[in-house]
Amino acid sequence: MSAEETTPTVEDISLDGLKKKKKSKTTSEPTTDSTDATGEDDLFGGLKKKKKKKSKDSAKEKTGTEELEDGIEDLGLGPKKKKSTKKKKADSSFDKELEKAGLSSTTAEAESSNTESTIATEVGLSYEDLLERFFTVLKTNNPELAGERSGVRLKIPPPIVAREPKKTIFSNVKDISQKLQRDPEHVIQYLFAELGTSGSIDGKEQLIIKGKFMQKQLEYVLKKYILEYVTCQTCRSINTKLVRENANRLYFMVCNSCGSTRSVSSIKTGFQAAVGRRKRTG
């Protein structure tokens, strides 16, 4: 998972949540009896939740004998197994689903609710209890701080590419740069520098790039642009702003969600080899 986070691509950014669930599912599934899981799946409609549900369920079946403890865990009182944020997310959905379904896991629910009340009465408010409450409150008020990863964090329309014999027309640059909150000029400058070509913008706000490029290639370059100039390296959000400091003529990227600032290197074209017809110098 950490590897995923260090090298986030556009797909990763948008599909993060899903991937995690898949992994947890596959790891924990073999220990469960599959009939149970599938049977319960039929009861729950939601597509995404299904996966969450499965993993959660399987976790439950694994420890089948200790239903009590599991019930506690399902309510977010036992933070031993998973990371807190992930668990909480799964839990809330799980609880909802429990209420919806009501069938197969009523016993567990009843027991767990019992245990919860008993714990609350016996110990007062336990640490886990408070933690849970804190996170639910935080999540409802500002989900970003609670480390909530919404399924789709950023959706970037794929570059629409039309090709002429020697040119490539990239028609939705403006859309994309708007989504990224960047100046189209900046994006274009980067594209040109990376692709080692030049081009122009036509009357319909389309970018015309010299040379043949596939959509995939442009996508890859855009991904690199996003990584370098859009995502905040501290909190990985794309809600950032590019500010040019007048004093030193450097570009700084200010994150709107976490407030961090980092300097980004200016776009450099670098060496351009003479391509095509050579000028006669001698």
């Binding site: 990376e194 004093a247 290197s265």
Partner: protein, 109 residues
């Protein structure tokens, strides 16, 4: 940062101009499209302790392509190779010359 007017006159942390990226000394591997499906690979910023001509000789033999060294006033020696040799150049630089991957930037699509 801009709110403090007094500090604007001299900022010790400001970069001194164009030598900003030079200390880090990135090695850039770029690709350029030529006519048709032909491409050109350029290697810019090779550390001066290496002899670019000798490297070129080896690269040409290894990759089976032609190439030459272009002397640029600002950027120093630039190796040009025919075709898309980016991955191969990267591998060569990291394994044979022992350059760190961090210092190499591969550009292009």
């Amino acid at each position: 940062m801009t709110s403090i007017e007094n500090l604007k006159s001299f900022d010790p942390f400001a970069d001194t101009g164009d030598d900003d990226s030079q200390p880090t000394n990135y090695l850039h591997i770029r690709i350029q499209q030529r006519n048709g499906r032909k491409t050109l690979t350029t290697v810019q910023g090779l550390p001066s302790e290496y002899d670019s001509k000798r490297i070129l000789k080896v690269l040409k033999k290894d990759f089976g392509c032609n190439g030459n060294v272009v002397k640029d006033e600002e950027l120093g020696d630039v190796i040009q190779l025919q075709g898309d040799q980016r991955a191969k150049v990267l591998e060569f630089l990291t394994t044979q010359l022992g350059l760190k991957k961090k210092t190499i930037k591969v550009h292009g699509f």
